[in-house]
Amino acid sequence: MKIPKIVIIISIFFYFSPLKADQEKLQNNIAKNLRCLICQGQSVYDSDSQFATSLKLIIKKKIENGLTEDQIYNFLTKKYGEWIMYDPKFNKNTYLLWFLPLLIFFFGGAIVFRKIKK
């Protein structure tokens, strides 16, 4: 009688294991960083559309198969293009996007600095 109890306790322990919680957290993080391509202004995480539901399932499967976050993003950008990512990667098409705020900041800073110096 003791053995089934022990088995149940161990299975409950593994069911709520931190590993599974981490996996779910990663899954949600990835879904939050993906644009639902058929919805207006919603992430895959927020959307309940057929597309988003399938995408969440595929993210889960890929994590279970041992793929890293970057590998999953690469897989999805190959299928749907860079547009699916809310946080575009740093490449030759996005240099301007990443550097423009910095440039504006330094330019504004230089003007303010000059004014103060005067």
Partner: protein, 172 residues
């Protein structure tokens, strides 16, 4: 001299910003997928619709042959709209039409085929929608023209007379 540099830089910067916004705001905010693609077809395995046998995509896509993979479902209204065109395309000997039944009830799908006709040489099952994601699809209906294990063209939404013309032109 110094006093002139600042206004000059501001003007240059304003022009630069204007150009960026002019280009950016003129661009459509609606996402339009690229239909002219040359991507390898995904490798996947799934069940067949009628006899529920496990099958791998490697086994039914031969080289030097045109295939039309159509993602459909009985609950999808635009699928009814395009179905007569698929029947016509299914009669073309140069082309094999393959169906991918998307998140559907098996009985409803069978009724749909009985009512509308079956243009598909083989129908594969996509119960949870993940196979369609492997194909880079957005939903139903969606159609892929395949040759030499490569996706030549992708038709998002129901096929129409124009898409049939494009397919027939590619087959020639």
């Amino acid at each position: 001299m110094k006093n002139r540099i600042v206004p000059f830089l501001i003007v240059i910067f304003s022009i630069f910003l204007f150009l960026i916004f002019y280009k950016g705001l003129n661009k459509s905010s609606l996402y339009a997928p690229n239909n002219e693609i040359e991507k390898d077809i995904p490798i996947f395995s799934t069940l067949t619709f009628f006899d529920k046998k496990e099958i791998s995509s490697k086994n039914f896509f031969d080289k030097d042959k045109f295939y039309l993979l159509n993602i459909w479902a009985s609950w999808c209204v635009p699928c009814r709209e395009e179905h007569p065109l698929l029947i016509i395309l299914g009669q073309n000997k140069k082309l094999e039409v393959i169906g991918l039944n998307y998140k559907d009830n098996s009985n409803n799908a069978k009724k749909f085929l009985e009512e509308m006709g079956n243009p598909y040489k083989i129908i594969l099952l996509d119960k949870d929608g993940t196979k369609s994601i492997e194909w880079g699809a957005f939903g139903v209906p969606e159609t892929f023209l395949i040759y030499n294990n490569k996706i030549l063209k992708k038709f998002v939404g129901p096929l129409n007379q124009d898409s049939v013309k494009i397919i027939e032109k590619t087959l020639k």
